[in-house]
Amino acid sequence: MDVHTPRTLEEALRLKAELPEARFVQGGTDLLVELNFGRSRPEALVNLAELDELRGWSREDGELRLGAGLTYTEAMRPELAELFPALAEASRTVGSPQIRNRGTIGGNLGTASPAGDALPPLLVERARVELASVRGVRTLPLDEFLLGVKRNALEPDELVTSVRLAPSGGAQTFMKVGPRNAMVIAICSLAVVVDPEAGEVRASFGSAATTAQRITVPLAEAGSLPERVADAASPIDDVRATAVYRRHALRVLTGRAVERCLRS
């Protein structure tokens, strides 16, 4: 297994074009589990950790640009947390401090697990994903990027380079149900934003459908959101919880979230 460590984004994209079977590795919090347990043996790895282009976040023309290499720890820091509180709250629920120091937004998108904690906040803020390859750059709305359980719209030669969104400035929150009080994979999760400018309330949930989804209702109908969310969910029974519980919990969470946001 070869490991390539490109020093520029351009070099990384060229490598991936030449080695379509190679896997990208940034924080390693998903990939290393597969490697450690012998579940996958890709022929090559492309290490993204040295690429400055993927780091950090910035504001460009009123938009927020989150680098794919933005870690959860970075997303929790006050300056960004103020602009995007739901992402900061979601980041606080990701794994442990050790995982938050390594895991990245880009990794969450690349893995595309329905339990990805960053996905509901990004969805409610109508994020767009920037994908790059030697062929060029394209942008997809996040809901079009997510295709199914651990499936996304990435072509074999593409890399997620950033996520862009226009912060709504609305009151928002994130909640996650787990069977213990820290370090859990979501039984279900929820992000809600009340967007007065758009005159709507948006919700997105995780771990209760094949992909994270967004539900939008007019502000005046905020009270209907819990039922709308519960109806939109198509959860399953698994080792973590029952489908019936997941749907119920989403209904409860949404009610609480809407109240929290409207009150604040």
């Binding site: 012998g38 149900v177 009080n181 820290a182 370090m183 994979i185 919880a241 019936v244 519980y245 609480r256």
Partner: protein, 743 residues
């Protein structure tokens, strides 16, 4: 070669002092050699091929592709086991490597040795095994009517009741007084316990080194060195002295290292290749590589007078032992023996049945049968209290078992058992006031998940009593050996095979030696079967008692010997035995001598929880406990046992369960088998109740198990108070709180 260094310090105090551990220093530096840290020149890596089927016939095994792979030095099957093909802690019913049949998912089928772990892993993948899957026996009730998994009935003929039903490992009935005796009030209940795992952090691992003369040295993390040796040697067709077991650093045990893991496999590979062989399980393999706590179903009926005297208890207990016997017979006995709890009850019918199934094998785990029945029995006491409208603490005081009373086996309590004192002290501990809102979500149910800011949260307070035996029971000829060398310069070396598994027995032995010898200059030699006789197992809350007795006796004998010689170096070995026990009558479950149990211990716990009743999420706010410890040899270590034991009971109450489907474990990882984190554990207020045990050295009872026995029951009591739900199954799932039946 790097092995566990001799553990030494000249700076320990005497019995009863609050002391720091000497082994903590290498441990905090990362310099302590655990079994997974060992290496030797020329070492190979061993790996184990395990069955993917819960029940199957093996039609063929083809090793040729595996043997042809680069770096592979050996691929072995049952045909390569030179001696006895089976082993077992108490009954030799478990194949070293599967012969013609596999009985659980994860059963070892073949082992390989290669020059790199990755090459060993690839060699495993190249072994071709043809299986014919058979219907698995996976339900513990149906097992009693299905095809026998062990038609030779390996546990029969050992003095237990002969039960002709298929798949019975042991059926035990304790009949006490008149089991038909009525009561003014009757409460019934059915309870269930899921499979808990010891989940020690140090995975099974070890290093086997051939000695060049046909024998082998095995460096391994274990709980009982000599019983390992006695199981390993016959399978290798070696004499016991040709197999030397050395204690490597143990990363936790909790019962899960009583049974063998890699010992025979590693030795087979080492002897076959004439090279040292290291084996380290990964976490997933660890979950199939050791026995678990028995899952249980329990049917209970408690009868009492209007005034609250319990007149009769009837309980039927079914335990799933999984594919092999391990210690199921003793677990069944404990489950029945302590089913009533520390209460004086004159009439009882207690039946415990352990069965074979194709589920993961179950055996010893901290609390050993008493955990399951305490959960059910204490729920029944709370129900009785509610029915009688008597305060639950008062009801417990009213029925408290005290010295002079009889156990349901007819054994009269002669030792210390301060049940009433323990109840009074625990119930008098002040509970914390309810904290105002808003709070950081970390201090609310759901924790970091930010699920509530106070919505749906209700507080509950619970109480329970736990009860368990100390030391082995039922006529087991239990002993512990210690050897003391007094040098001319006045220093002393203590040799003992007592396994330090984290509990601190090394400190206990040094404290005892210092107390007896009157010198600080005492060191402990490394534990090995070659240098001293058996210490017995670091199990059953017995190690402190037994090792203290052995070291005390050896020290006293050494001093006498030196006085007799008039000086010079002396080297004496002494064997300590606790008061003898005798078996239970197989027909009645009554004692056949003075006692079946050596001693008993009781613990009481008061718990405050908060529950988000709309989401079914919980937070244990506070735990207060009073425990009967006889005498605390080292109060700091005793507190550590109580806090840690409480955490394991909390895990069983709220989150820990191995989930199986058709015999296969679905959550063999720390991602899905959840144990409590720093955010799940409450503060613990502890009262040590010191009433010396007359039969125990220095009056010290073992302390490791009672907190685990009582905490699950106490937390459930608090959860019921908060939710109004009966919560008859542990671990409690959010579903049960939200959708469970009303009480």
């Amino acid at each position: 070669m790097s092995v566990t260094a001799p553990r030494a310090t000249p700076r320990l105090g005497k019995v009863g002092e609050r002391l720091l551990r000497d082994d903590a220093i290498p441990k905090v530096k990362g310099a302590f050699d655990y079994s997974s840290d060992l290496s030797a020149p020329g070492m190979l890596w061993g790996a184990t091929l395990r069955s993917p089927h819960a029940h199957a016939r093996i039609l063929s095994i083809d090793l040729s592709r595996a043997l042809a792979r680069p770096g592979v030095h050996a691929v072995l099957t049952h045909a390569d086991v030179p001696g006895r093909k089976t082993y077992g802690l108490e009954f030799s019913d478990q194949p070293v490597l599967a012969v013609d049949r596999v009985r659980y998912v994860g059963e070892p089928v073949a082992v390989v040795a290669a020059d790199h772990p990755e090459r060993a892993r690839l060699a495993l993948a190249a072994i071709e095994v043809e299986y014919e899957p058979l219907d698995p026996v996976v339900d513990m009730e149906r097992a009693l009517e299905q095809e026998p998994l062990h038609p030779d009935r390996p546990t029969m003929g050992h003095g237990y009741l002969d039960d002709p039903r298929p798949n019975v490992v042991r059926h035990l009935v304790i009949r006490h007084g008149d089991p038909e005796s009525p009561g003014d009030v009757v409460v019934t209940g059915e309870y269930e316990v899921g499979i808990q795992d010891q989940a020690f952090l140090g995975p099974e691992s070890g290093l086997a080194v051939p000695d060049g003369e046909g024998g082998v040295d095995i460096h391994v993390a274990t709980q009982w060195l000599h019983v390992d040796r006695d199981q390993v040697a016959p399978c290798l067709a070696l004499r016991p002295e040709q197999v030397r077991i050395h204690l490597a650093g143990v990363g936790g045990a909790f019962g899960g290292r009583e049974d063998l893991s890699m010992q025979i496999h590693g030795a087979l590979l080492a002897l076959h290749t004439s090279r040292p062989v290291k084996m380290v399980y990964d976490r997933e393999e660890s979950f199939t590589g050791h026995v678990h706590r028995h899952p249980a179903r329990m049917w209970c009926e408690h009868r009492a007078t209007r005034e609250g005297r319990i007149t009769c208890v009837r309980m039927r207990i079914l335990l799933d032992g999984g594919a092999y016997a391990s210690s199921s017979t003793a677990v069944a006995s404990n489950a029945a023996s302590f089913a009533i709890g520390p209460y004086r009850v004159d009439n009882a019918l207690l039946e415990a049945t352990a069965v074979y199934t194709n589920n993961p094998p179950c055996g010893a785990m901290r609390g050993f049968g008493a955990v399951q029945t305490c959960f059910a029995g204490e729920a029944q006491i709370d129900r009785l209290a509610a029915e009688l409208r008597i305060d639950p603490v008062e009801l417990r005081l009213l029925n408290a078992l005290e010295p002079g009373d009889s156990l349901p086996t007819g054994q009269v309590l002669t030792g210390a058992l301060p049940t009433r004192e323990v109840i009074r002290r625990a119930s008098a501990l002040p509970i914390p006031a309810e904290e105002a809102l808003p709070r950081d979500p970390l201090r609310l149910p759901g924790g970091a998940g930010n699920t509530t800011h106070g919505e749906g949260v209700r507080r509950g307070v619970g109480f329970a009593l736990g009860f368990k035996n100390i030391c082995y029971s039922e006529g087991f000829d239990d002993l512990c050996t210690a050897r003391v060398v007094l040098r001319e310069d006045g220093s002393a070396v203590v040799h003992s095979a007592a396994a330090e598994v984290g509990q601190g027995v090394v400190g206990v032995m040094l404290q005892v030696a210092r107390t007896e010898l009157g010198t600080e200059d005492v060191t402990l030699a490394a534990s090995a079967t070659s240098s001293v006789g058996s210490a017995g197992s670091a199990s059953a809350s017995r190690m402190t008692w037994m090792a203290a007795g052995a070291v005390r006796d050896a020290c006293r004998a050494a001093l006498e010997e030196r006085a007799k010689q008039g000086g010079g170096e002396v080297d004496v070995e002494r064997v300590y035995r606790h008061p003898r026990t005798t078996p239970l009558d197989p027909e009645t479950g009554q004692i056949t001598g003075e006692r079946a149990h050596v001693a008993l211990a009781v613990a009481a716990m008061r718990v405050v929880v908060e529950v988000d009743v709309e989401l079914g999420l919980t937070r244990v706010v506070w735990v207060g406990t009073a425990q009967d410890v006889g005498r605390a040899v080292n109060p700091l270590a005793v507190e550590g046992q109580i806090e840690g034991g409480t955490a394991q009971g909390l895990g069983l109450a709220l989150m820990e369960e191995l989930v199986t489907r058709d015999g296969a474990i679905l959550n063999a990882s720390f991602t899905d088998y959840l144990i409590p984190t720093a955010l799940d554990m409450p503060p613990v207020d502890i009262e040590l109740i010191e009433e010396p045990e007359p039969d125990a050295p220095y009056g010290a009872k073992g302390v490791g198990e009672p907190p685990t026995v009582v905490s699950t029951a106490a937390i459930l009591s608090a959860l019921r108070d908060a939710t109004g739900r009966p919560l008859t199954r542990v671990p409690v799932r959010p579903d049960d709180i939200v959708f469970g039946p009303q009480a």
